[in-house]
């Protein structure tokens, strides 16, 4: 009995969904545990990718319009992720210049 007999021929959508959920959870873990703004941003990127995989997996099982929509959504998402990352990194760099740190713990000028 080879390994190919145990595994399904094509990948069930559920596998992708579980994978995406795991990826999202890993990103969530990083987002909470990281103190460094760049680290947080990296975690957010991972979560975004989890969402992308999710949508692509759903889109794979659709027909016609639904399938196109999903892929369209992923393409748009990638675009936006770039824009967001660029602005975010710019802010982080500006922060570095002023404070020489990006540790979230040290952001405490603004307290009520």
């Amino acid at each position: 009995m080879s390994i190919e007999d145990i595994l399904p021929e094509t990948v069930p959508t559920g596998y992708y969904l579980v994978f995406a959920a795991l990826l999202f959870a890993i990103g969530l873990f990083g987002l909470i545990s990281r103190r460094n703004a760049i680290g947080m941003l990296l975690s957010i990127e991972i979560m975004l990718n989890a969402v992308n995989v999710n949508i692509a997996a759903f889109s794979r099982s659709g027909v016609g319009e639904g399938q196109v929509l999903g892929q369209l959504l992923v393409v748009f998402m990638i675009t936006v992720a770039v824009a967001e990352a660029a602005v975010g990194l710019a802010i982080i760099v500006a922060m570095f210049k002023l404070r020489r740190t990006v540790e979230a713990d040290e952001l405490k000028l603004l307290r009520g």
Binding site: M40, L48, A57, L73, V80, A104, L109
Partner: protein, 495 residues
């Protein structure tokens, strides 16, 4: 196509700003500020006319028969045009009251700031009009990215950059959650347009995954609206960002997100389980926002922070209107009326702060002591806006609050229903809010001033205060025509 004029106007204004930014000069900046502001306010009147036009039969025809590249993504209905008018007003007023601030407190890149505000206002228009999830999410993202950039605009002020960083991290997080929810909504229904989602879930048993996804999407909106518990960014960002930006952020994105919230959830998730889930979140969100916002605002010593918390409370009031969207026709009218009232009174209050800090460079509540002697215009304006924000007659805030209460009562209020408690929380919170708004007014009038030096009010910001004062008064005194316009447009929402 004519219904798209507000968006096009805003993009045009923004683009001109970027062009001017290539060769900035004091004169150009001044001209741009004034002309841009006037154009936007004029555009707001035009958008109001479009809203009116769209309620007529042939106007509806035009909206319905929009070309496919508009009709799949935007609902150019009267409701959305009312919010387009709002967006233009916010943008125009922000232009006008930024004039002195830009000249005095920003070293360069002034036109860019205004241009980005115009682009963000465009995002407000599309967000309020969007009828499918891609556009909604894009508009949210446009607003967010503009917000991050705007918050960081004083880039050598640590507080500004810190505010932007906090805003960015929390904003990106919330948008990821929203997207995660969105991905499941897409997966479960195969659709991205709101009506399609509703139709796909109309079959009854929709399980628990869809409500969960809806609630996850709500996180993203809740963040934009600054609904408790997604409000953490709000006070910090409001305090750190340049004050005109704070004013813009406290009104623009919030109102557009509320409009989208009402549209998305009432159209896409009107069915049992999903509806119970999002209504439940909104119910507690509204109660917590009102209560926490007002309670924490009581003990702020920075006036921008105080207004930040008060804006959280106001979001709570408006969430009450959103909460009853599915139960009464009046809800959207109430939301629109309150949105207008909130725009005038909150921007007015911020304009007072801007005028004051332009001169004194201080935002601490204490520095407002004795302002009535130093500048009666500012002090009395604050009294008017404060009273309106509390919701006392005969000012705009009162009308807004009455509408929200009326919408809630219209659902067939019964003794002991959740809605009744919501209303009681709402009115008691109004009383609490009196304490800090009027408390500041009390400082202005009852305390001796630090110095007797008068506070000059610049032309731009003075005009903006005047416009806001006029709006705050006229909304009640000339309520008949205004309400008839808003109400009829709110009744007509393109699905």
């Amino acid at each position: 196509m004519i219904y798209l004029i507000p968006e096009l106007l805003l993009v045009l204004v923004g683009a001109i700003g970027l062009v001017i930014a290539c060769a900035p000069s004091r004169e150009r900046l001044r001209a741009y500020t004034v002309l841009g502001g006037v154009a936007c306010i004029g555009g707001a009147v035009g958008a109001g006319y479009l809203a009116h036009l769209a309620t007529t039969a042939e106007g509806a025809q035009i909206a319905e028969s929009a070309p496919v590249y508009l009709s799949t993504t935007l609902a150019l209905d009267p409701f959305s045009r009312v919010f387009a008018a709002l967006a233009l007003l916010v943008c125009g007023l922000t232009f006008i009251f930024s004039k002195e601030y830009l000249e005095r407190r920003l070293d360069d890149h002034q036109p860019e700031l205004l241009a980005i505000i115009a682009f963000a206002s465009m995002g407000m228009c599309t967000l309020a009009a969007a009828r499918e999830l891609i556009t909604i999410w894009f508009s949210v993202e446009l607003l967010s990215v503009c917000g991050y950039v705007l918050a960081a605009f004083l880039k050598d002020d640590e507080r500004s950059v810190e505010a932007a960083l906090k805003y960015f991290i929390l904003g990106a997080t919330s948008s990821v959650f929203m997207l995660f929810g969105l991905s499941y909504v897409y997966g479960l229904t195969g659709r991205l347009d709101l009506v399609g989602i509703m139709e796909a879930t109309a079959g009854g048993n929709i399980g628990v995954l869809l409500p969960t996804a809806a609630v996850l999407m709500l996180v993203g909106f809740g963040f934009k609206v600054a609904m408790v518990p997604f409000h953490m960014w709000c006070p910090d960002v409001y305090e750190g960002a340049p004050t005109p930006v704070t004013a813009f952020l406290s009104v623009g994105p919030k109102l557009a997100a509320l409009a989208a919230l009402a549209r998305v959830f009432s159209i896409a998730f009107p069915h049992d389980t999903a509806r119970v889930a999002w209504e439940g979140v909104l119910f507690w969100g509204a109660i917590l926002s009102m209560t926490l916002g007002n309670a924490v605002a009581l003990k702020q010593s920075n006036i921008k922070r105080m207004l930040a918390y008060s804006s959280i409370a106001h979001a709570g009031y408006m969430l009450v209107a959103v909460f009853v969207t599915l139960q009464t026709d009046m809800a959207l009218a109430a939301l629109s009326v309150y949105a207008f009232a909130y725009l005038f009174m909150n921007l007015g209050a911020f304009a007072v702060i801007i005028a004051f800090s332009n001169h004194t460079r201080s935002d601490s509540v204490r520095s407002y002591n004795g302002l009535a002697i130093r500048s009666p215009y500012l002090a009395w304006s604050w009294v008017v806006f404060g009273i309106s924000l509390v919701g006392l007659p005969p000012l705009a805030g009162f009308l807004g609050k009455v509408f929200i209460i009326m919408a809630a009562v219209d659902t067939g209020l019964t003794w002991g229903s959740p809605l009744m408690w919501l209303l009681i929380v709402l009115v008691l919170n109004s009383v609490v809010s009196l304490y800090y708004y009027i408390g500041v007014a009390g400082r202005m009038f009852f305390k001796p001033p630090v110095t007797d030096e008068p506070v000059p009010v610049g032309g731009g910001v003075g005009t903006a205060i005047g416009i806001c004062l006029a709006g705050t008064f006229l909304m009640v005194l000339a309520a008949g025509p205004i309400i008839s316009a808003i109400q009829s447009s709110a009744l007509f929402v393109l699905r």
